[in-house]
Subunit: 512 residues, 2 copies
């Protein structure tokens, strides 16, 4: 354990080796291990405890059960505190290296390890790094990543060294490749840049990872971050070279994206590669999180729509006949927009099943219009009268808004625009039926002149469509999780349509 | 420190209090603290070390400098291991509670703390929880959250207790609210559900958080997660009630979204509310990550486009005259699609500045067509001939694909479809100029019949448009980070257009 901050390590309290052994046993006896990373081991006893514990559990050196092990040989803190005692270095070499997949020393650590094993050398150049990595590999680990963060090189030097050997592979990261002149002009000329390299040596092959040098004080824990990131990539099944590439990219982006913390060398930003979900994933207890959010975000206007006075008077059976007739005439016009909107959705569809679903809804609308016409006939409204009725501004506003949304945006935006109608009428139907089922209800079912309307929207056929719509909306959010900006647009469209639905009933009540 | 796994705590190794004090000093002396959370403190000395260290640094009880402190009174592990010794409970009450913003005991911990302070009681019901929370509040902390995860209640019971007091506010989370009949029908009837409650008491006001009971074995570390999540919300400036709501929601979703780990009670999923970025954020060393990804994802086809034989022969000056003429005639037709595509982009625009930018490009296209016509005249192609030239299938394929993409998708998709042309011609211009600048270059500039074309695309005017386009593309990805699915669509469109650009030059070379 350390007492440390961004200015350095102030103190170290070593764990008793017996306790480290118990911690190791607790984890190994219970949890399947996909990769292992060691960090600061401090003393010989602890190093031995870890090495022995791992060998005992996984079956010793060369056991096929041994998971990838990344050994970060944390030796000395930047502030000069010894984090690995001299005799512990020897134990690391003798006991841990033989089961190590990858050891990740920086220059100072590499020099220390080599000197402890009688291979003293100074590492100042790329050639030194390559030869140092080879010597370290000779000490037992399957691979060595010698980190060159403190050695600044020019691109020319890297080329000179690497082009001279067929065994050296160069991986450029963060540097521009060919056919990227437009980016070179927009950015700084990378050939003038200083670069840093990490040298990976394994199986006689050497890979040199090259990237632009970045000056930053947010480098506290860089080595720990890198070794942990590589271990994660190995756990996911990547090979050592690809895991190293992923790990170094992750780490260097973390340095560049860091926030300042503390007065010394602050930590990296480990969160740079993630964004917050704007819609929670469905869970067993909340299977429709997106629809919930939509309704909650617009609860006032949603209530004013689904519990509109038009609905209440309709439920009571007291709705003036002319209001209902005005409503069904305007609904006729609205249905034309609705059918066209599904045609537009069809034109925006990526698959045959989506095209088919749009076509089916269009056909349903056409069928519904026939039912609608005969329903109107019962209320004394002729087909001709339907066609000659002028469209109310509220109808145009709602219908044209849906079409415009479909023109402006993608499929998902149009789906949002169509949802308020589908779900709202479903809600109204269920609400009226639920209220009607209460003792002494204000809702009159038997003998209500509007009973067919209530039956239709609370009935199984329409409610099945509502459920299908719900699932489609939720699936949209899971398949293509929206950014916060996109989510806000969706909520805005949903809220607008909810409001336009309310306006539609205002229009019917006011005979506007 | 603990040796533990999903089956329980196997052993505890207490830190020396002096070392805890040093760790505290390291952090407090260097880093600005926005909120504090305490967990397992184990013994009286450590508890005192923490309380004394905080008071010394922040100026004692009631100091305005004291940040919010959430005290999770971890007392006993699920497996029965003592994690807070009896005398430590007394110190927690006497020394830590007076500087505590919120203490978060579960039933067992609440009973233990109350019994240690002579207020022994059993907590079995919601009434017990409310009275227990009040009694705990009397011990000094500014607020108490008594967690009821182990007490199952019915919604009726919650209503009975809470409706009887005006001081009790009920926050429902994960339960359906009014006007959500459609979700109640699609889900289970929540009134039949068992619920669990957490009781928050502060300043004489009580809030009861109600949520559906979820059965799960992924509950290891639930209390630690909750107290840490609440501390984070307090650090962000939320008040205690809202922080508690956010923390409980986060924690319960973590339980529901957990992956199985270990043979006992596994950990929560702490990652449920995040998704991976599909495009890294721009950094100082990589200011155009999105364009890089696009080019790298399509490097083969991109190279075959920007280093097309048409370009090479044009650079050498050896391109057959009839190929160039065929090209500029078809380019005339292509520009019509291009202008229309920007009109469509204008129709999809959310702001006046976006509408204006589209209009400006449309005007540029119209101007360019005039220049284009006079350029054609120099090559002996009359305006009439331009208009009567049949459109090649390669031209139609490319032009119509852009329009179709604009119809199918949103603004960003259309921007992607338009990028390959803008950036590719910029790349070609820069490449030719760069090659021409080399000694003994294969590119002939002086006396090349196509020098004007090369000047145009490598010139400042066009390159400024390229840079503006680059920035717009990168800004799109930052403002509305795409999901992996959406990013894949973008890459597909970019790759398709790159391929159609290559096809355009194939067409010119083959006089197709």
């Amino acid at each position: 354990m350390t007492a440390q901050n961004t200015t350095g390590v102030q103190n170290v309290h070593p764990s008793p080796p017996e306790f480290v052994r118990q911690q190791l046993n607790s984890v190994l006896s219970d949890i399947k291990i996909e990769a292992i990373k060691t960090g600061m081991l401090f003393d010989a006893d602890n190093t031995l405890a870890v090495a022995a514990g791992l060998k005992a559990h996984f079956g010793g050196v060369n056991s096929p059960k041994m998971p990838p092990l990344v050994c970060d040989p944390v030796c000395v803190s930047t502030s000069g505190h010894t984090l690995l005692q001299a005799d512990a270095v020897k134990v690391m070499i003798s006991d841990l290296f033989p089961i190590t997949t990858l050891v990740t020393p920086n220059r100072q650590e590499a020099e220390l390890i080599l000197s402890q094993s009688g291979k003293q050398m100074e590492i100042n150049s790329l050639e030194d790094m390559i030869s140092g990595a080879m010597k370290l590999r000779g000490l037992g680990p399957a691979a060595v990543l010698l980190k060159g963060g403190h050695i600044t090189l020019s691109m020319e030097e890297v080329r000179r060294v690497c082009d001279s050997s067929a065994d050296i592979d160069v991986v450029r990261d963060g540097l521009l490749e060919e056919n990227m002149e437009i980016l070179q002009v927009a950015e700084t000329d990378p050939s003038a840049r200083h670069v840093v390299v990490d040298v990976l040596h394994q199986d006689g092959a050497t890979t040199v990872f090259v990237r632009p040098r970045v000056d930053s004080t947010s480098t506290h824990g860089t080595g720990c971050t890198l070794s942990a990131a590589i271990a994660c990539a190995l756990a996911k099944g990547h090979n050592i070279k690809e895991a190293t590439r992923l790990g170094t990219t992750y780490t260097h982006t973390g340095i560049e994206m860091a926030f300042p913390v503390g007065t010394g060398f602050g930590p990296l930003n480990h969160m740079h590669s993630i964004i917050l979900r704007s819609i929670p994933l469905p869970t067993p207890s909340i299977p429709h999180p997106f629809t919930r959010l939509l309704i909650q975000a617009t609860s006032g206007i949603w209530k004013s729509y689904v519990e509109h006075d038009f609905v209440k008077q309709l439920g009571r059976g007291t709705l003036p006949r002319e209001c209902f007739i005005h409503f069904i005439k305007q609904d006729y016009h609205y249905l034309k927009y609705y059918g066209r909107a599904y045609a537009l959705l069809g034109a925006k569809s990526p698959s045959f099943s989506a095209i088919g679903a749009s076509a089916q809804t269009m056909l349903n609308v056409v069928t519904e219009v026939k039912t609608h016409a005969s329903f109107c006939a019962q209320w004394g409204v002729s087909h001709k009268e339907l066609d000659t009725t002028l469209e109310s501004p509220a109808t145009t506003a709602y219908g044209a808004f849906i079409i415009d949304t479909g023109l402006q945006g993608d499929r998902s935006k149009l789906v949002m625009a169509l949802a308020a109608c589908l779900l709202g009428y479903g809600e109204v139907g269920l609400w009226l039926r639920k209220e009607a089922s209460k003792p002494n209800s204000w809702v009159k079912w038997e003998g209500n002149p509007y009973v067919k309307w209530m039956e239709d929207y609370s009935g199984e056929h329409y409610q099945n469509a509502v459920r299908a719509g719900l699932e489609a909306i939720e699936a949209e959010a899971v398949a293509d999780p929206p950014s916060r900006a996109r989510f806000n647009e969706w909520v805005k469209i949903w809220g607008r349509c909810t409001s336009l639905e309310k306006g539609f009933w205002d229009m019917a009540m006011g005979l506007l």
